[in-house]
Symmetry: C2
Subunit: 343 residues, 2 copies
DNA sequence: TTTAGCACTCTCGCCCCCTGAGTGCTAATT
DNA sequence: AATTAGCACTCAGGGGGCGAGAGTGCTAAA
């Protein structure tokens, strides 16, 4: 039995036991786990070495050992057995995604709910609607005769809104308005157009109201598309965890999670691995010291991009989390009807 | 000084002091509040009467008194001084609502966020999109030449979705498809139509895919429209409160709040008062014993209806909560461009 | 290099006591 | 009859002391 190897085994066992029970792990417990292949004294020696190397910590002198953040990092990088997403899991995820997506329309909301429900942990998502411009608008007269459905097309999305008017606008006028607006969109002269229109018709007139509504909708859509939307779902789940029994810690984490600005910093730091892991202090934020974030980017329709992930105590089950997220990523890809799955 | 009157004053003072400090209130504190208009002994006598009447409770013998649920009920019904929504507050709320609404599009999400942010408490919302049928669909060819924006009109809403196709569908074919589908919508024969179509063209064909996409979108929209969507925002805020320092209580409440089914029960119980209040055990749910719900219905555009409210400990500031919600209600009404505000 | 044995340390739960806040009752006062 | 002063009583909460149990590090033997 190679010494290095035994130490790695011991470290792995400590981490896995701690993930499972949230209790510090003692030498005797470990000896049991290894069915006394080596004695508790041997294990004590190794553990004391591992402590010096910075992988283990003692809450106090007689409490067994707890993995350090460095240990978790080593664990996810090297020690952990990597499961890979099972096809039936991907399939379940895909169905769920399809359902929820039509139920919510909001991609981020759907993503965070699914991942939270499936993993039983707190889920989060950030979706940045890439800063796209509106390319074209359409106006559709509604059956009530005095409302128009305004439809905007960007490169990859449709958005629509009802514009209600106090009076009737003739379809011909609406058609003209549409043509005029579409003409101005490309040249970025919408507000100019609105000013011009204001001079030729009264501001009270329905046609003007319609124009105003359309222009505002376009502006809002373009502005919105630059923003990032964050969701946190199932926040109560992390409260069940041992480490957040301490009310102060729980509160601080909840606060951090609802602080959208800070959270988005983490997500910006995404690297190129499919599933990214941030362990405790790797996020530069004291309130998140005891939590880890596991997340992945995903695409739907090849265009709308997002980040979805799981927040849990640092002693979370990283293997499971990675598995769920990989499944989600795959599932989202399969939703895309006009591209083949690559990976 | 009429005795009845004094007792009411004392009860009011107990409640308000408790709302403020979350500490049981003793006779001496009260004597101070009344600037020794009556002695602590007198107050003790009255308090003991009030206790017998069920309005006050003792956590233990030497801890001062705490209002009972009945006391809060009496307070909101009779004792409390009713503030009314200030116009500048309504105005601020309206602006906020306009912003957020365009930012989120999701009415419920916007409502819960606004009310949570403004009140500094946990906010929630439930929006039922009244079970409306799709009346008409439109298809708009996108610039990429092989995607169609599918737009659905119900009586009061527009919904849109991009349908991407692997191949090109000729605009004439799309126009025909649209006409056919619109013909079938009113007679509820969509699935029949799809079957029929399947017989005349291959299921692989783009036209069929398009038809399928449209029909699915219609079905989803109609199903969705019967559902209720719930949001809870700023859940961490209630954790700051004294009464939820107890982790078990906090967890239970959070659990209850994320249990969408149960929460919707409360909301169904809305009565006809503009702002409805449910105090602790008035909700038949042990996990919510220590919380009160203050909520109101609102309408935007005269059509989309919802419920929005505040959850807080039973000792919340009911006056403020009511004020915020009344403001919100007003603000939502003013958003509606084609109806005059009535109230 | 591994293991058995042992003394040592520290947390945690328990009990006890003390203090302070607030009460209820009684008797005196208005 | 209503109010008030005075006093004995109760009880939660904090602090200190104590013992049990868990786990360690060290030493010496295998």
């Amino acid at each position: 039995m190679d010494l290095r190897d035994r130490r790695r085994k011991i470290l792995k066992a400590v981490i896995e036991s701690y993930i499972d029970t949230a209790e510090p792990v003692g030498s005797k417990t470990l000896a049991d786990i290894f069915e006394n292949a080596f004695s508790s004294a041997t294990i004590r020696n190794d553990m004391s070495e591992l402590e010096e190397m910075g992988y283990l910590e003692k809450p106090h002198v007689s409490a067994g050992r707890v993995p350090s953040y460095a240990a978790y990092r080593l664990y996810v990088n090297e020690l952990m057995e990597k499961r890979h997403a099972l096809s039936f899991e991907i399939e379940a995820m895909r169905r769920e995604l399809e359902n929820k997506l039509s139920e919510f329309e909001d991609l981020g909301l759907a993503a965070s709910r699914i991942i939270s429900a499936m993993s039983g942990q707190t889920g989060f998502s950030a979706v940045k609607t890439a800063g796209e411009r509106v390319k074209r608008c359409e106006l559709i007269l509604c059956d009530d005769g005095h409302s128009y459905a305004c439809v905007l097309l960007t490169g990859s999305e449709v958005k629509s809104r009802m514009i209600r008017l106090p009076f009737i606008v003739a379809p011909e006028d609406a058609a003209m308005l549409k043509a005029a607006i579409n003409g101005c969109i490309s040249e970025n002269k919408l507000s100019l157009f609105l000013n011009m229109l204001a001079r030729s018709v009264s501001a009270e007139e329905a046609l003007f109201k319609l124009a105003e509504g359309v222009v505002r909708f376009i502006e809002e859509t373009e502005n919105e598309s630059e923003s990032v939307k964050l969701h946190v779902e199932g926040a109560e789940k992390i409260l069940n965890m041992r480490e957040f029994q301490d009310t102060r810690k729980a509160r601080e984490l909840m606060e951090y999670l609802s602080d959208k600005k800070v959270l988005s910093d983490i997500l910006d730091s995404e690297d190129d691995t499919p599933v990214c892991i941030k362990i405790g202090p790797e996020i530069d934020e004291p309130r998140a010291r005891d939590a880890s974030f596991v997340f992945t980017t995903f695409t739907v329709d090849g265009a709308r991009r997002g980040v979805v992930g799981i927040v849990a105590p640092t002693r979370m089950d990283y293997g499971k989390a990675i598995e769920y997220l990989a499944s989600f990523r795959q599932a989202a890809k399969q939703l895309n009807p006009h591209k083949k799955t690559e990976e």
